[in-house]
């Protein structure tokens, strides 16, 4: 198998560890995606001059930001200085007010503040140093010994800032971090991608493309899956629902209950259907369609190749025939009124073509001010509000999902009861306003939507809250009517949107949340965890930049993630110590398949779905094993499992037993060229007589079921051959002494052709040589193997 030994793979230039450093530049952009530092990505490889700046080789460049973090902030400033010089501390009214690590971008903000302070001098010496050693009326007295390491580190920092901070042309940290990490090669990646995105194994064409093009072929293949694979749409919905959880409303009339007949007189259109069964079906499909609206809108945007920013800016929504009737839309666009998969764009309330009022005549504009998913009933209803919450939950979720801003983590700071007891603390107390000044303007932008999301236009917002807006920008009152459209446009223009999409899609693809900055410097793993955080933050910020450069193309985003070390890392050279292990903790290309993915994978590999006796799937949403296998229902259960528990182990065993039983004889019933599991061997093949075909099929099964391309000298092959021969020999001896029957048990027999249903000339009922059962054992073993269970 091909593997890369860098932290990156071809085609992922943003990760290529061209390390070097130079001095310069402006760090005013503290919130920028490259840590507030404007780095030229096109700098030549290490050692060469770029813009008059000397570049160093990998590992020798130490950025000022890193120096600050490791030599100044962590050892002493975060404790000795920050104790008073924080927004709530005794020195909160001085020029030096540092930010804690509960504030995003706090390191960059602190560096910027120190650089500004450093300009203040007393008799030619930095005031910061003067104060630190206790001179010039420093309220905190002497904090640093002028002869000590901390003082020297501060001096060095100030010197660096004075000369222009050291900035590595690319990130030496990234290079160092991925040193020795083994990556999946393109073939392995291809299998993982097709299973993950399309629920199937790679096609022959895709294999050939990768064989010819290597990693460069992955991106076009992903684009092809997005454009052509129906199954991808299902996966896309899962990826976004993993964060948005708007599927909560599937079932009953949960979604329809969000609407009123006053707003949508046709919402219960199905009541007119006289046939009970048809009416119930129409009601159920209408409810599902309304619940699915935001995710289907995303699917539409992706399928149409539109920029992903439209998920918050689209001035339209999508509806299938059922939802269109709920909304009272013109359904003439639909060919088949029962096609639940036909989603078309609409503008609710828009004038119908041909019914425009006479020119010059004023009419009320009834056009609904769509703003992508933000204005869908399922999104608004998923995050309801109350008179006292005042849309803050909606604001919190919108900031988190679309602007990568976790207000809740800001709220983790210690809070005193005095702060809460103050009059209107969310507006007046700094302990509260630190979060609320971010959250409350966004909450105001939802002013037109009531507790469960029904549109009720308002002309004003609470006077005891901050005005509607985003960040520093206040929403003009004449925009109130389209407030969420106004908000969506600003979200789309915000650099944080691209990072939010990286985080959301990465989670949907891998099941891993992006790392949060560690907050406990006393933890023994603080250092490596901090390093892991910074590297991931750097890499993902770069991915976000690339995503912007792609025009917010979803396929490009998926390709960027798939080509990153966070998707492909599969091992590391041995002998790593505990600190290195802590540093690498986020890496590892394994994901316990969700029940839906597991369901699809079983079907893709064996050709049969795992169902109960009635033919209903067992692992999909709403089915008996879904939640027990770690499924989410987007209501009471929002996170899947990362680990296999004992019950799941038994679910896997049962599936492996049943599917091996169901698929083995059935596959042998097909012509060899049509078989999925046994194309190289006949059921009658016996060890000692037909070794070549048996061995060829074992190698084939390793590749098909486990994704392992191995040869006959691989110990894994020998294990499987041994298993086959052991079961075969045990079976033969069992039959000989009359302990085992010479026939298959009933559920494992095959009497008809699995495709045509025609009776077989020779039904597969007898198994006199025990070979069918030996193959069943092999298939069962593989379906319960780690490589099959984990994506």
């Amino acid at each position: 198998m091909n593997s890369s030994k860098l932290g990156v793979v071809a085609g992922a230039a943003i990760l290529v560890a061209l390390s070097g450093c130079y001095e310069s530049i402006d760090i005013d952009d503290a919130g920028g995606t490259s840590g507030g530092i404007d780095v030229d990505e096109d700098e030549p490889e290490g050692g060469e001059s770029s813009g008059g700046v000397e570049l160093d080789g990998p590992g020798t460049c130490l950025e000022t930001a890193t120096y600050f973090r490791e030599q100044v902030w962590a050892p002493f400033m975060s404790s000795q200085c920050y104790a008073c010089h924080n927004p709530l501390g005794q020195a909160k009214h001085t020029d030096l007010v540092l930010r804690g690590n509960d504030v995003p971008g706090h390191q960059e903000a602190n560096i910027a503040m120190i650089r500004n302070i450093a300009r203040l001098e007393l008799e030619g010496e930095s005031l910061l140093l003067v104060k630190a050693r206790g001179d010039y009326e420093h309220g905190g007295g002497a904090q640093l010994d002028p002869g000590g390491e901390a003082y020297a580190a501060l001096e060095e920092l100030l010197e660096q800032l004075d000369e222009g901070p050291t900035v590595c042309a690319d990130d030496a940290d990234v290079f160092e971090y991925f040193q020795g990490v083994e990556m999946m090669g393109p073939e392995e990646t291809l299998r993982r991608v097709t299973i993950a995105l399309a629920g199937r194994l790679p096609t022959e064409l895709e294999r050939e493309l990768v064989e010819a093009g290597g990693d460069d072929a992955i991106g076009p293949i992903i684009d092809g899956i997005i454009a052509n694979d129906d199954a991808f749409g299902t996966r896309l919905v899962e990826i976004f629902n993993a964060t948005l959880h708007t599927e909560k409303f599937i079932g009953g009339t949960n979604a329809l209950d969000l609407l009123t007949e006053g707003d949508y007189p046709n919402k219960n259109w199905f009541d007119a259907i006289t046939d009970d069964a048809a009416r119930n079906t129409a009601r159920s499909r209408s409810n599902t369609a309304l619940a699915r609206e935001p995710l289907e809108l995303i699917r539409y945007i992706v399928r149409e190749g539109r920029p992903l920013t439209e998920i918050v800016t689209a001035n339209y929504t999508v509806a299938n025939p059922y939802l269109a009737q709920v909304y009272g839309l013109d359904t003439s666009v639909f060919v088949d009124m029962e096609d639940t998969r036909d989603w078309q764009p609409f503008v609710i309330g828009a004038p119908v073509e041909g019914e425009m009022p006479p020119e010059g005549e004023e009419v009320e504009d009834t056009t609904f001010p769509h703003a992508g998913v933000l204005t869908t009933p399922a999104y608004l209803g998923r995050y309801p509000t109350t008179d006292t919450n005042r849309n803050r939950l909606r604001a919190q979720k919108t900031l988190e999902y679309f602007l990568a801003t976790d207000v809740m983590s800001l709220g983790a700071r210690p809070l005193s009861t005095d702060a809460v007891a103050e009059h209107n603390p969310t507006l007046n107390n700094p302990q509260c306003t630190s979060c609320h000044e971010i959250m409350d303007p966004v909450a105001g932008a939802f002013l037109n939507y009531n507790d469960i999301g029904r549109r009720r236009p308002q002309e004003s917002w609470y006077q005891d809250m901050m005005a509607p807006g985003l960040g520093e920008e206040i929403m003009p009152s004449d925009e109130y009517g389209r407030s969420l459209a106004w908000l969506g446009e600003r979200i789309a223009d915000d650099v944080r949107f691209s990072r939010a999409m990286v985080d959301m899609v990465f989670y949907g693809l891998t099941g891993q949340h992006v790392l949060r900055e560690p907050t406990d410097p006393s933890s023994p793993s603080y250092g490596p965890e901090l390093e892991a955080f910074h590297v991931q933050d750097r890499v993902f910020s770069d991915l976000a930049d690339e995503f912007i450069a792609s025009g917010y193309d979803f396929g490009s985003l998926v390709t960027l993630i798939v080509n990153s070390g966070y998707y492909r890392a599969k091992n590391v050279e041995g002998g790593i110590d505990e600190l290195r292990a802590a540093e690498l903790a986020p890496l590892g290309a394994v994901r316990l398949s969700s029940p839906e993915q597991f369901h699809r994978k079983v079907a893709a590999v064996t050709g049969y779905t795992w169902t109960d006796d009635g033919g209903s799937s067992l692992l999909t949403r709403g089915r008996p094993l879904h939640l027990m296998y770690g499924g989410v229902n987007s209501d009471t259960v929002l996170e899947g499992y990362e680990q296999v528990n004992g019950v799941m182990s038994n679910i896997i065993s049962r599936m492996a037993n049943e599917m091996a039983c169901r698929a083995t004889a059935a596959d042998f019933a097909r012509d060899p060229e049509d078989r999925l599991l046994f194309p190289h061997v006949e059921a009658s093949a016996i060890p000692g007589l037909d070794d070549a075909s048996i061995e060829a099929n074992i190698l084939y099964l390793h590749e098909r079921v486990l994704g392992e391309t191995i040869t006959a000298d691989d110990p894994r092959f020998n294990d499987t051959l041994f298993l086959f021969e052991s079961v075969y020999e045990d079976g033969l001896s069992g039959i000989a002494v009359g302990e085992y029957p010479a026939t298959l048990i009933a559920p494992c027999r095959q009497s008809t052709h699995p495709e045509t249903g025609d009776p077989l000339e020779v039904p597969i009922v007898d198994d006199p040589d025990y070979t069918v059962r030996a193959w069943m054992a092999v298939v069962s073993a593989m379906l319960g193997d780690f490589q099959f269970i984990y994506e």
Binding site: T386, D387, T388, N389, M408, G411, A412, P414, L415, T417, V420, A421, R516, T519, S523, A569, N571, I576, A581, A585, P586, G588, A589, V590, P624, H626, L627, M628, G630, L638, Q643, V644, N645, G646, V647, S649, N650, I651, S653, R654, N657, R716, D719, L723, V727, E729, D730, G731, S733, G734, I745, P747, R773, M776, A777, S780, G784, F786, I789, Y790
Partner: protein, 421 residues
Amino acid sequence: MKRRNFFSWMAGAGLCAAGIGRGALADLAAGKRVSGGTYDGPFFVHFAADGGWDPTGFCDPHTNLHRGYDESGIVSLGGIRYANVGDNAAFFERFADRLLIVNGLDVTTNNHAVGRRYVSTGKQDETHPHWAALAAGTHGPELPLAYVAEASQSASEGVVARSRVSNSSVLADLSFPDRVNPGNVEDLSTYQTEPALEMVSAWRQSRLDRMAQEQHLPRIDNAIDNLAVARSGSNELELLQSYLPEALAATGIEQQMQVALAAYAAGIAISATFGMNGFDTHQNNDANQDNARASFFGAIMRFWDEAERLGVADRVVMSIGSDFGRTNRYNGNNGKDHWPVTSMMLMGQGIEGNRMVGATDDEQYALRVDPDTLALSEDGVTLTPAHVHAELRKLAGVSDALQARFPLPVEPLPGSILGVA
């Protein structure tokens, strides 16, 4: 023909039989249990009142902070006092002799997620597992239902696999995964013969062992260990069948509790978390808190009913908590907003009951306690969930390795909140 002994045969072929592996399994081998055994207790359980309960409505009464009662509505039962509103009396009368109330816990947050984490893990950030997970991770992570994690905050941080029981009707099928008709006790036929099943198991374990030897990335390494642990105890799920009640609740927390307790009685569970919401009462605080508490306390009482029926009640350790408290005043909707001082309640094996520790003043500010005597003292310490968890961990026998991996910012108070000697 004489049948071969498969395991000796496998050994000759260089394959390993399923058995104790590395990592967590090795820890187990060195600890108090070995794979294949069952667990005798105690059983650790946490009930979460999601949304932020109002202690002034039950365990921390202040007549000036709650409209539902006056002085005559405050009932003393030995060492505890409670507000006699709603259905509180049934709960407190039943449990007063074994109930420990810890008032005046400062969670220093008004944030639901943060408060919920603090109260269930002893730490505010996202790094620590639920204390019930630590207990399960210490005493037997390989058990099939070691950690029944039903509450919304049930973080395990890789210490033990979480389990959820959403549909007990399929447990019989899952208890006997090799049988063709698991629902028919008369039909013991299996898909494969016993030797074949053993060979399959050995093949899987052999591959897992090889992967483990070659793998060095911690995340994948842990996944390999975890699968080995899960497999090692999965056969014991069948023990559950003997303890499930005949009339199993259809869904919801009732069923979750029944299955968890049956699993405990069967020796295949160590801890559980359960949660109910309805406590975020920004509107009509008193009535809504009463309703939510009635459901919540009702569930806890039925938990104990079932524990007593199964004969395991004397081996249960229970903690009960919520995100935070509610404000010391009503808002314009007769609701109460978030307040960073709250209470916890505990009872069960090893906990000295009929006591109240800590307190709040008449403005619901946390009062300090002397760390040695736990008497109120202006020079003392403010109690936090971390203090409670430091002792809960000790009571649960959480291993030194897990304690070191997930340190708490405080040590147990000399005075012992839980009353543990």
